[in-house]
């Protein structure tokens, strides 16, 4: 399929690994991405915080710039995705907002008619449009032996009813990672918050949230946390050292994008997938993949023998 592509500011630089791996993976799966010409920042959570109407106008400019003939917009960043989604839906639901936003857009000879663009997240198009079976068919190097934590964060799965994901316990990424051959770790905090902007607002709050996620993944002997959001990656990876310092721990948990894992499984080079840009090195994971441990020999299961000294047990028969 052909999509209007909204990379968002993070993917240009701090999440370049996400941008590089997503476009590469889309290419392998024969999905065409047409970058929206001259797109602008989505305003993150900050613009909506201070002044919602200009925030809607900022976002609607991107919707207005979607090339004619394209109906689906794909955004890999969770915040970009939710902001664009909210704008599209709120303009459709609120006539006055729609009029106000279009009055503002007219200043740049632009307009947007709600309902013309379908805003979607990268995970959504890969799981729904391409499908896990088709993805599995492209796997050349299965991620066998890797224990991966599927981490969704907040914005793609919540604002309830906005998507078709369970807001508390989604499983789309779980299924995708399984299709790559990885062992998916059942992770109770899979949709918990990474701290968002709290490292800037009140660092201690952020460290607590980061620590819980990292420690929980480590206790499940995960090889990496796999994420779909640049903010989650940044907080868990870049601030992991600070969180460690704060709690006196020594965790070393790589935090990678799901598209990087897809690229690896498709046989693309780690370098082309942006490996090495992470603060907490993913080299141990790459080494493990290069020399997978021999599969554990299946021991024939013996029926546990009761000790002869044991007290007699009541029998159902």
């Amino acid at each position: 399929m052909k999509y209007a592509y909204y990379p968002g500011c993070s993917l240009e630089k701090n999440a370049a690994a996400y941008g590089e791996s997503f476009t590469a993976v889309a290419d392998v799966l024969a999905q065409e991405l047409v970058e929206i010409p001259d797109w602008n920042c989505c305003g993150a959570t900050e613009y909506f915080s201070l002044d919602p109407l200009p925030a809607y106008a900022l976002l609607a400019r991107n919707l207005a710039l979607v090339p004619k003939g394209l109906t689906d917009l794909v955004a890999p960043c969770s915040a970009c995705y939710l902001n664009l989604y909210k704008t599209e839906h709120h303009m459709a639901e609120r006539p006055q907002l729609n009029r106000d936003v279009n009055t503002a857009l007219a200043e740049a000879n632009l307009s947007y008619k709600p309902g013309t663009v379908h805003v979607r997240h990268a995970l959504d198009i890969l799981v729904k449009d391409v499908g896990c079976e088709a993805i599995a068919a492209h796997v050349k190097q299965p991620l066998r032996g890797l224990r991966l934590v599927p981490y969704y964060g907040c914005l793609v799965v919540r604002p309830g009813g906005l998507g078709s994901y369970d807001p508390e316990y989604p499983d789309a990424l779980d299924r995708l990672l399984e299709a790559l051959g990885a062992t998916v770790v059942d992770f109770p905090l899979k949709a918990a918050c990474c701290g968002g902007h709290m490292p800037q607002i009140n660092p201690e709050t952020a460290y607590g949230l980061i620590y819980e996620l990292i420690a929980s993944a480590a206790s499940r002997e995960a090889d990496a946390i796999v994420t779909l959001c640049p903010m989650c990656q940044l907080n868990l990876d870049v601030y992991q050292a600070q969180a460690n310092d704060h709690f006196g721990t020594h965790h070393s948990m790589p935090v990678l994008y799901f598209t990087q894992m897809m690229g690896l499984a498709f046989g693309l080079s780690p370098q082309a997938m942006g490996f090495g840009q992470e603060f907490v090195s993913a080299q141990p994971l790459l080494d493990k993949l290069a020399s997978p441990p021999p599969p554990p020999e299946e021991e024939p299961k013996k029926k546990p023998q009761r000790s002869k000294k044991a007290l007699p047990m009541p029998s159902l028969r």
């Binding site: 613009y47 201070l50 002044d51 907040c154 918050c193 902007h197 607002i201 009140n202």
Partner: protein, 193 residues
């Protein structure tokens, strides 16, 4: 208790958002605060804020750090048994507080600095945001940020210069007009008078 002088109370201004009328259905169950990642560090949990709004405690609500500590994770919104749009209410409180000088803090400054970057370039600019925010608001913390900034730069994860969109003038015109309409709508709603 003092009554609000202005015609519309803070409660009315908050309840004016789409779905905000459900605020009156709050059960005071505390699911919001219990689900909130920042809850333990907030001056008041969202539940308390709602009780304070109903009691007309405008000053105390707007001085609280609660809505600035909201990370916009939407746990409260999806879990609220009364389907109150709690996250949207937190956004509205930020919007109202940011409009009055006496309630602005360096939390407001972070959002404003981010917005300035977007308005000046059309794109986010992390180095500019971090430098301007920390040097202006938290100079001591800026020193601690240096190793991280260096790490970002050496890994190629932070740009030294901002990227500008082509039609920056068009974007600025759109935002100027949107702000003009926004102030008119605020006046109509009695917000940020």
């Amino acid at each position: 208790m003092k009554r609000e002088k202005s015609e519309s109370t803070l409660y009315d201004q908050v309840a004016a958002i789409p779905g905000g009328e459900r605020l009156k259905l709050c059960l005071q169950c505390g699911t919001c605060g219990g689900s909130c990642p920042s809850g333990p560090d907030m001056d008041h949990t969202p539940r308390e804020i709602f009780a304070m709004l109903m009691a007309g405690k405008r000053e105390e609500v707007l001085k609280s750090n609660t809505f600035w500590f909201c990370v916009s994770c939407y746990y409260c919104t999806v879990r609220c048994p009364q389907q109150i749009p709690i996250t949207a209410i937190m956004y509205q409180l930020k919007h109202i507080a940011a409009g009055e000088k006496k309630y602005t803090t360096d939390f407001t400054a972070f959002s404003q600095t981010f917005i300035n970057m977007v308005e000046n370039f059309g794109r986010g600019f992390e180095l500019g945001l971090a430098t301007q925010f920390y040097l202006t608001n938290r100079p001591l913390a800026a020193v601690g940020m240096m190793p991280m900034a260096l790490g970002m730069l050496t890994r190629g994860r932070m740009a030294l210069l901002p990227t500008r969109i082509k039609d920056l003038n068009g974007l600025k015109a759109v935002l100027r007009k949107a702000k003009q309409i926004a102030r008119q709508r605020d006046r109509e709603a009695g917000v940020r008078a």
